[in-house]
């Protein structure tokens, strides 16, 4: 369990620092010409430990590619990604493998990221099995405590993912990610496929984990409203670049960039009068 964070953020080393990240894909068109697509075109940002950076943008803005690069699932064309002071782009493969457990990725669709043929227990203990550190009994105990951590009852251990609801599957994905005791969690549209009320539940879980475990989040989404609620800072992406970045208040109320304004305008809103009083 991580200790509580001190409140003097300014003195802290950033957990993640991305500098000039570039990722290009080669595309060969039918005419034979080679085109290069720049998915990421020189990104730079930092995330302080225990905070949440939300990256918002439309599809095609490159935000998913960013998530893949930071999670070491894609190799950037150029630029550096500093994690706890070390550049993970420059690392050798076995060093990188040792680093991977500390950065975990949660996907949008839990149905496709969880093995449909396994039951919950097998999915949960898979990270332990791969590490080969624990006995079966201890793995089971850890599985139980992980379930408790994310608010799932242990009766689902025997069930395959298909029998769980969307919210339960996403909690399971989070539990599995937590098994490796990561420092950084990348959430790639992790809430987008869920119902509104379930999004609130998972959002609460994430915030609770952040305050008790000191988790750091890179929250990738196109839902600006949820991003604004969960994040400390927001970065707006368009066509592979960060067009605006800053604290949530500033982005929401004083947007400078056209993309940001468009995104703000596009958020479906209940009007103020629709909000019932909290203590009814």
């Amino acid at each position: 369990m991580k200790a509580e964070r001190s409140s003097s953020y300014r003195d802290m080393q950033p957990l993640l620092k991305v500098e000039n990240l570039v990722k290009r894909y080669a595309k060969r068109s039918l005419a034979g010409a080679r085109e290069e697509l720049s998915a990421l075109d020189g990104l730079s940002f930092t995330i302080l430990p225990g905070t949440t950076l939300a990256v918002v943008g439309e599809s095609g803005s490159g935000k998913s590619t960013l998530g893949l690069c930071v999670a070491c699932l894609e190799y950037p064309t150029s630029g550096s990604i500093w994690f706890e002071g070390r550049d993970i782009v420059e690392l050798a493969e076995d060093e990188r493998r040792r680093l991977r457990p500390q950065i975990q990725l949660i996907y949008q669709d839990p149905a496709t990221s969880l093995n449909p043929r396994w039951n919950t227990l097998e999915i949960l203990i898979e990270p332990f099995v791969l590490q080969r550190k624990f006995e079966h009994e201890e793995m089971k105990q850890r599985a139980y405590s992980l379930l408790e951590r994310v608010g799932l009852s242990s009766e689902i251990l025997g069930r395959p993912p298909a029998e769980l609801s969307g919210g339960q599957r996403q909690r399971l994905a989070i539990a599995r990610a937590l098994a490796l005791e990561p420092k950084l969690l990348i959430l790639d549209e992790a809430l987008s496929a869920l119902d509104c009320s379930v999004q609130a539940q998972i959002a609460n879980l994430l915030m609770e984990l952040q305050s008790s475990l000191g988790m750091t989040y890179l929250f990738i989404t196109h839902d600006l409203a949820m991003a604004a609620h969960l994040a400390d800072e927001i970065a707006v992406m368009n066509r592979g670049r960060i067009v605006e970045q800053g604290p949530v208040e500033k982005i929401l109320h004083q947007p400078q960039n056209e993309t940001t304004r468009q995104l703000l305008a596009a958020v479906p809103r209940m009007t103020r009068t629709a909000l019932p009083a909290l203590d009814q």
Binding site: K27, R28, S29, L30, G32
Partner: protein, 324 residues
């Protein structure tokens, strides 16, 4: 276009590779055509040696391979010792006979398997479908040999059909119509055997492919738009289920020359099968190599054909291979 050229290039290299391997293994296998002659005391060893030199058996392997390739360019594909003639015309005649059988059988098998598979997929899990599954399973289990022999027995017992061969004894004296009739009668048994042995696999694949598609959301959506059942089946379901079936069809084409060997031998049909068998037993080297290369040609050609049809039929493959 680049796709086509690339595939043709692959096919060519494959053929060359197979021909080298066939040549290698055939010559490396112990014994050769002249061994029998050598054992025959009536033939002088000098004659055997002279024959061997004449056919270039004393030259090293690569040289012999080179001269074989040379003979292909001249349209001869080597020389058959047993038949005392260039291999190419020999094989071509036999190949024609084989194709007569297999093309008919393949077309017939597909013509039966498609509607049957679709019909079965529509009634998935219900009694008619289950009966069909048992039937195809039974057919699958019965060995081809047993089928062929069973059909022969049937022909013998009833006397309705000729029991083997391709033509009756006095074939040449028949009128054209009579010739065709005679040919057709001779074809019934082998074609039936081939169809029965190919049918179970085809039906199962068609059924699986169509059943998969029948559950797809786009079919439900189309039904929601009021598309009539017939259109749904033939214009929506079948094209979407086509991919695995096209590959299977390519495989069917690929085995056009090689798949009927057993049936041909059992039913004395003068096709590629029996001559290949003879040649192997007699160590008639060039016939063996020629036969193998011919069959491989069809196999590779069949696969290429299937890939090209897939490329044409599925727009997703087109854009994928173009924009890689």
């Amino acid at each position: 276009m680049r796709y086509l050229l690339r595939r043709l290039g692959h096919a060519f290299f494959l053929l060359v590779g197979v021909s080298i391997l066939a040549f290698l293994f055939s010559t490396l296998a112990p014994g050769n055509y002249f061994d029998e002659m050598r054992l025959n005391p009536q033939i002088a060893p000098e004659t055997v040696a002279a024959l061997r030199a004449q056919y270039g058996f004393d030259k090293p392997l690569p040289a012999r391979y080179a001269s074989w390739v040379n003979s292909i360019i001249h349209g001869e594909m080597g020389f058959s010792f047993a038949y005392d003639s260039p291999v190419a015309p020999l094989l071509l005649v036999r190949a024609r006979n084989t194709l007569l059988l297999t093309v008919t059988a393949t077309l017939l098998a597909w013509a039966i398997a498609l509607p049957l598979g679709i019909w079965s997929a529509e009634r998935l899990g219900r009694l008619p479908d289950r009966l069909l599954s048992w039937g195809t399973a039974a057919l699958l289990v019965i060995p081809d040999l047993a089928l062929a022999l069973g059909l022969l027995v049937f022909a013998v017992r009833t006397g309705w059909l000729p029991t083997g061969g391709m033509a009756s004894v006095d074939f040449e004296t028949f009128s054209t119509i009579h010739k065709l009739h005679d040919l057709a009668l001779h074809m019934v048994l082998p074609v039936t055997a081939l169809v029965l042995s190919a049918l179970p696999l085809l039906v199962r694949h068609v059924r699986a492919a169509v059943a998969d598609v029948l559950n797809a959301p786009f079919l439900l959506a189309a039904a929601g738009h009021g598309i009539p059942r017939r259109t749904l089946l033939y214009r929506y379901a079948l094209p979407a289920a086509a991919n695995p079936l096209i590959s299977l069809f390519g495989f069917s084409i690929g085995t056009l020359l090689s798949g009927s060997l057993l049936i041909e031998v059992v039913m004395s049909w003068p096709g590629l099968g029996p001559i290949l068998l003879e040649a192997i037993l007699a160590r008639d080297l060039y016939v063996v190599v020629g036969g193998i290369v011919f069959s491989t040609l069809f196999l590779v050609g069949g696969n290429l054909f299937a890939d090209l049809v897939l490329y044409w039929a599925d727009p997703r493959i087109r854009t994928e291979s173009g924009a890689r």
